[in-house]
Symmetry: C2
Subunit: 337 residues, 2 copies
């Protein structure tokens, strides 16, 4: 007799499989408020406002993740989190998510179930129910999630809205996710918190809402490929120079402990680590005003003033005396020249 844990989705066949998947969707999913019609028809029907914010992201096995560094349950969480983070970066909140999932026929049913349970739990946490999708086979895991959202305030926060004179802010603790991934790949014994930061990123929805509420103008993006690369995106989109102050880039106690004695600088992880899903934003509010207004809402991730927006172009890192520090760009790219 086959052990339950070793049943694959090919053993079930498409019909039984789809019924199971619908069951996993059901409870946390299509009964949610903005979804008028969920999984099961040619398309879903979502209740929307006059402006709908839409983002789509693909995760490919062995490109974006490896099965030995992330469990299916964490993958389900993370796949949704990275898309919801894109909405947060626009100062929008999620309405509904759509999943196109491709997996090999020999995938254990238990893995698929764990993936969906992770996704469903994340959907509840972020208020972003699954409304539909597509399940196909492929030689490896591959998933694309599209999320529809609605603006948190009257305006969305664009990358192109930064102006010279603005102050640059960063939420939370960038670099921890990159350090977590490195520990996983090298099988190092580190704090589970560090691994969790890589496997279960939390989109900064509440922080985005507060920033959109208090800042008269806001340019924002989420830090997915390291602070350096996303600062470059901000500079390019807004046509400005982004001046980062090295001493003000926030090094968390976790990251500091991790790099101690390794000969590596926390800054490497912060600038080039990637997958932090913190928010990087530019606002005309000066740090003292920002601190008072932002801090008025308890429970948010800390907001660090880390630089200024200036006339010009590109990004540079400065020391406390205002001298430009050398930086070698180590951002991950999909297609290297």
């Amino acid at each position: 007799m086959t052990k339950p844990s070793s049943i694959t989705i090919a053993d079930l066949g498409e019909h039984r499989l789809l019924r199971m998947v619908r069951g996993w969707f059901g409870t946390g999913g299509t009964d949610a408020a903005p979804i008028e019609l969920g999984i099961g028809d040619d398309a879903a029907v979502v209740r929307t406002s006059p402006r709908t914010i839409v983002t789509t992201d693909a995760l490919v096995e062995n490109v974006h993740f490896r099965r030995h560094t992330i469990a299916p349950r964490d993958l389900g969480h993370k796949a949704l989190a990275v898309n919801v983070s894109d909405l947060a970066a626009m100062a929008a909140r999620p309405l509904a998510a759509f999943l196109a999932l491709s997996v090999p026929p020999q995938t254990p049913v238990a893995d698929l179930r764990a993936f969906f349970l992770g996704l469903r739990a994340a959907a509840r946490t972020f208020g972003c129910p699954l409304a539909g999708g597509d399940l196909t086979r492929a030689p490896h895991w591959m998933l694309t999630i599209t999320v529809l959202g609605t603006p948190l305030g009257r305006r969305v926060a664009l990358r192109s809205a930064a102006r010279p004179g603005d102050y640059l802010y960063l939420t939370g603790w960038p670099g921890e996710s990159g350090a977590g991934l490195e520990a996983l790949e090298r099988k190092l014994a580190v704090s589970p918190k560090l691994l969790r930061r890589h496997r279960r990123p939390m989109p900064r929805l509440a922080e985005a809402a507060q920033l959109a509420k208090i800042s008269p103008r806001l340019a924002m993006l989420d830090v997915s490929d390291g602070v350096w690369n996303d600062a470059c995106q901000l500079a390019e989109s807004s046509g400005v120079h982004v001046a980062l102050r090295a001493a003000d880039l926030p090094c968390s106690p976790l990251l500091a402990r991790r790099v101690r004695g390794t000969g590596r600088a926390p800054l490497e992880y912060i600038l080039f680590g990637g997958e932090d899903y913190e928010l990087l934003c530019a606002s005309p509010l000066a740090p003292a005003v920002m601190r008072a207004k932002y801090g008025a809402l308890p429970g948010l991730a800390p907001l660090h003033p880390i630089g200024r927006i200036m006339p010009g172009h590109g990004v540079a890192l400065y020391d406390a005396a205002g001298r430009r520090l050398p930086v070698r760009d180590r951002t991950f790219t999909h297609f290297k020249p």
Copy 2:
């Protein structure tokens, strides 16, 4: 010196590649009316009505298509067409499309360009501009398209709306696409029209609009996996029996010519061919009334009365005397038990 035709996307590097892709998107794409903000930020902004219809479909190389049976330009067309067809089946028209595309680094730039040109031309034809996306690498081609749409009339057409007594209708010429694919796979010399039906399916948007307008109630779906399977979906969703009349299933002259002398019946292609993207619908309008009302708008694909909706469940095929004919289900499935 490298010949232009042999330049791969890895030769370009990610930055130049993304600039090129934005250029290909631009002209036909993000300047379109419902798109307030297109490619380039964390997410796009689409102007929507109170109900947004959303569908997502993945196409995987060697599962849904093979590179030797479809050129990149046709693939671009088809990938969008199959999603827009899902909207048509809901009695909705498209607003904007989102693309997650994964390709190997050694992909020729010329192939990627051809894909985008095919997609852009289809976007113009269907009134469905590209509003955003994601480009990553993968070991093979893989694409997921998500399309947002808006209802054509006051109601959307659900699969669950068929009632006993309804008449069953089918648009156009099912089976041609399946016969075209077979000819491509076996390298048979056939009419280019037949190949085109496989490579460049046309979603039945105008037909859906007319059906939604004239029919007081309408259950509808698009025929993607053969008439048999989609009739089964209709039966299951509506809780009814679908009675197909074998003699009334429309065999096009093209299909008739193709099967002549092969010993195969046109019915095999019609019932199990797949990828037709015709509309299958149930309406209380009797054929004579339907013919008069539907035919009032010229230029539409023909609409064939092919059966009735009855109390019960499942699908059956009947001869002219009302006798049930034996049918062996040959629908393609992703995960066979």
